[in-house]
Subunit: 213 residues, 2 copies
């Protein structure tokens, strides 16, 4: 399992920073770079005409995103302050013609994201609110810390709602119920603990990183 970061070390790159709420790129823009999260959290989103927003993915440190051939197919924004490695697109594609490994990893990456999104649709459309939230929280916990530990929640309720297709009010109510039932425990709105491993059978909302950190 080769590491994307080292495979990309030969590409033209630089470290970039974005502040909370800043837009990294917008749907429709010409695509000229690929990014990798160094620290912080990024959201991929589709902006509906009516002002509604659908978040199609959260990216965490180590994740690659923004690999589009011509146009950006979604928008990306910083959830909190973030640091990213920005790779010039032509340079990455260039490099991939010389490294089968890289090509392979690139395809794997997009594939993984497609997979995650496909399952997101499945869950968001077929699961009731309570199960959606549980799926999200336990998925986050699995990826970020593990059951039992305190898990940081970088995004706010609206972000979570826009990911799960729930109104913030509904989300809040569901979380309250979940706490009353002792299934999760919140320490403030931005950190929680999953008490009961519960539905381990649920697929994960985030890519299970194969390697690397």
């Amino acid at each position: 399992m080769s590491d994307l970061a080292s495979l990309l070390s030969g590409a033209r790159q630089r470290l970039v920073r974005y502040k909370k709420g800043q837009i990294i790129f917008d749907e429709g823009e010409p695509s000229s770079a690929v990014f990798r999260v160094v620290s912080g959290c990024v959201r991929l989103q589709i902006n509906g005409a009516d002002g509604h927003r659908q978040i199609v993915g959260f990216l965490f440190p180590g994740d690659l995103f923004g690999l589009c051939v011509d146009e950006r197919t979604s928008s990306a924004g910083a959830i909190g302050d973030v640091e990213l490695t920005r790779y010039a697109l032509d340079s990455v594609l260039q490099l991939s013609t010389q490294s089968t490994e890289l090509t392979f990893e690139l395809i794997r990456t997009i594939n993984t994201q497609f997979n995650a999104l496909a399952h997101q649709v499945e869950h968001v459309t077929h699961l009731p609110a309570r199960e959606r939230v549980l799926w999200f929280l336990s998925g986050l916990a699995d990826r970020r810390s593990g059951i039992g530990a305190s898990v940081p929640l970088p995004m706010n309720r609206r972000d979570i709602g826009d990911f799960l297709a729930l109104a913030p009010e509904t989300l809040s109510r569901v979380i309250k119920t979940l706490q009353e039932q002792g299934i999760v425990a919140f320490r403030g709105p931005r950190a929680f603990t999953v008490r009961i491993p519960a539905l381990k059978s649920l697929p994960q909302p985030f890519e299970q990183r194969p390697a690397a950190a």
Copy 2:
């Protein structure tokens, strides 16, 4: 704009046929081939634990699908009888190390599908039933024939419902209303005409093929 079919002509391939309802591959299986639709229609789907099903894409002649690195990340099934070109995966990857063009097109293809899925989520989660159906039908019409002409509908109501996250009953009711309003006209359950171009601003539910047939 290079043609995927010709770029793949050097890969190990053969023509395969599936009959109506047959499974082409199942989620979790090892991935050993990529397919291209020759004739008929294929659905990509995620099977939920509770028997629910989410269709994450319909594939039409010319479309490439099933490019997964290790495991199949979704299931694929034949909607009617279909003919596919089956390319051996190792052979395709092998070829892509020699052809930058192919690598490029491969990435573009997955990218396009990710894009389509992302917008599907947006529409299915934020649009009311009526708009969802309209989006689907006019998207199909645009891709398959053009407004005004009679458009074949290869899939049944359940398939459409599972794509739009609507119960077949609701779908049926919406279609009835749309007909009464003179917006669409059905000639039997498997062919329709869009009377009013209506909301052209809606993004398309299917990849707008850049080239090829």
